[in-house]
Subunit: 409 residues, 2 copies
Amino acid sequence: MSFHILTAQSVKDFLLNIPNIKDFFDDDILESQEIGDGNLNFVFILKSQKDPTKALIVKQAVPYLRCAGEDFPLSKERMSFEIRALQNYAKLVPHLAPKIYYEDEEMSIVVMQYLSEHIILRKGLMESVYYDNLAEDISTFLAHTLFYTSSLYLDSSQKRHMMDSFNSNRELCKLTEDFVFTFPYMEHETNFIDENCLDEAKTLFSTMQFKKNVLSLKYKFMTQSDALLHGDLHTGSIMISKKETFVIDPEFAFFGPFGFDIGALIANLINSYISHFYISRDGAYQEWILKTIKEIFEKFELKFLALWDAQDESSLIIPNFIDDKTLTEFKKDFMKKIFQESIGYAGCKIARRVFGIAGVEEIRGITDAKKRKEANLLALKTGVKLIENYKNIENLDELIDIIQVQKSS
Amino acid sequence: MSFHILTAQSVKDFLLNIPNIKDFFDDDILESQEIGDGNLNFVFILKSQKDPTKALIVKQAVPYLRCAGEDFPLSKERMSFEIRALQNYAKLVPHLAPKIYYEDEEMSIVVMQYLSEHIILRKGLMESVYYDNLAEDISTFLAHTLFYTSSLYLDSSQKRHMMDSFNSNRELCKLTEDFVFTFPYMEHETNFIDENCLDEAKTLFSTMQFKKNVLSLKYKFMTQSDALLHGDLHTGSIMISKKETFVIDPEFAFFGPFGFDIGALIANLINSYISHFYISRDGAYQEWILKTIKEIFEKFELKFLALWDAQDESSLIIPNFIDDKTLTEFKKDFMKKIFQESIGYAGCKIARRVFGIAGVEEIRGITDAKKRKEANLLALKTGVKLIENYKNIENLDELIDIIQVQKSS
């Protein structure tokens, strides 16, 4: 069906003709409601009138930035990349992504499982909720989605074929290039600089060694096609309960460097860690965040290596090419590079939130101006430190030390 | 027109209906002849009967490896990548690539300028011909084709759009992965090991540090999309006269690491340098080869940097992001990395010729078995040395030293 924008009313009529959706609702009478609070898209909930727990989520991309209106065009094809990434998750990590009931690239629409008992991880972290499965689940997500879409698993032809499906996600890659790697570190009209931090912004904008490293990381982001990334894996892209973790919203998906998704997630955990100095002052919870960061890295590495060890042949390595000892060394070097690049990207993802267009709620939302300033500057200091030093951070303890020491230094 | 394989006869009928070709020949009666000695394709020359200097070259890919026959399928779409690369050269370096008169992706055919006064550079080097313009021309070719197809010039969207046209050159990339980075360094049925070198092959196959570096370079080849490469830029892909240089046969074209084309060319110049110890013993000519290698690197760097300096804005760097001093440092680091990776790739391109399926004529063609063995082993030693040390070679003098010293060490 040719593209048209759906409303709370027309979405019902549109979907009731789809067998899979019909089956799901057993011919119940449906209610629908727009619930989108996102920046980019329309989101509806579709419910059975007699059993409101029977529900699905409908997401439609429109050909402009929803939060900014029709004057800010953004190609609706972004939904195609989200659909393709979700299909990939359904194969690789079905328990860590919402189930898909229907998708239509022409209509830029996807119908998904309704996660009634889950909240956005960012909110949970703000409320000091402990999630015992977070490190376990998200390390599985990272290890499986990154390994199985890389040249360490796919053969050369499969990999290039898969890249064809994501290579044209140009607009969203460009958003990241601009809003993660460029504008937040220079005078730019899109920035949002807290009026208490004008001097610090000026200083940052002229800190050149840091900017040189940002350029290197940006260049790698633009040219290194390690694996299929989520592309925007912050704590707002994770829905979570005490029992389950779901990764959502992969519309930024593209083939990029291994470290980018890991870095995005770690950055947002560090932001949460920092915010708690000023909100809850709950040291035990902060310790849990640091432990979670550590566990995510440790478990990711173990799982990624286990998948790699189980793989006898790939486009990179065929049997009998290299002896086990040397292969183990190669893998060790390889994992260390992923670790260090993740730290570099984490630094960018922290620093860009300070003066860039998109802040994080847990810091930009602090109402006390003095505390907000302190939190902002602590985040900035931590981000810059990671960017300036990522190539020399040798292990997890050094990383945790750096995160902890910024508050007192 | 749907694909069919042309013969010396049918190629005339096929092309005479093309206005551009008709114009070129002024309705002269034509002769055609198959002249292909290549491995992959059919090549015809089309001449005017009354003026044989009026001629064009016709190249058609067939859906198998021509030299091996129909049992070795190879998709004829390779010609599409050659056509697209040649179109790119026509824009960027029109004086360094054959002029195109007609192309048809469906028929996998391209009709090009006939280079009557030019010979294959490899042959010229074997005959100790001095080419005063070689370094100048080929450094221009490298600087322009690499810079203008990179993220240092193109905007993000243009670059991804261009990558779409080359990303599916899967089969030929796979050939390089296998025959440049894998099989020649292990026991493999496709290898061709001189019976005098069996022990040395065995030793090579178990030299693990070298193989670890090969894996790193292979991984980068598979995942680093710096710029549109020729992909097979050895001295057999260059037609040359004392006055002019033309790059031909870019069917391996794809987006890969900057250093790969440069490395391929340098490798083949080093092979020629080595061969002259055993063929001509012409030390002055060898000096000229070394000087040419040096000049190619120097001129490439100067030209690439000049293009970069002239570019105020790209997807990587926008005005006012970074100060001039730091940008100069960034560029210096960037160029050094290209230099070092070129050396790594040169090492692979030398080493793979020794025991791999495809040798180079100037060495594998040496008839005296003892000399052939010595040349092979000198090439091997040089290639391995470059692969083992590429990350630590700081400048051109160190590179030239390494090339020179292997003979006596």
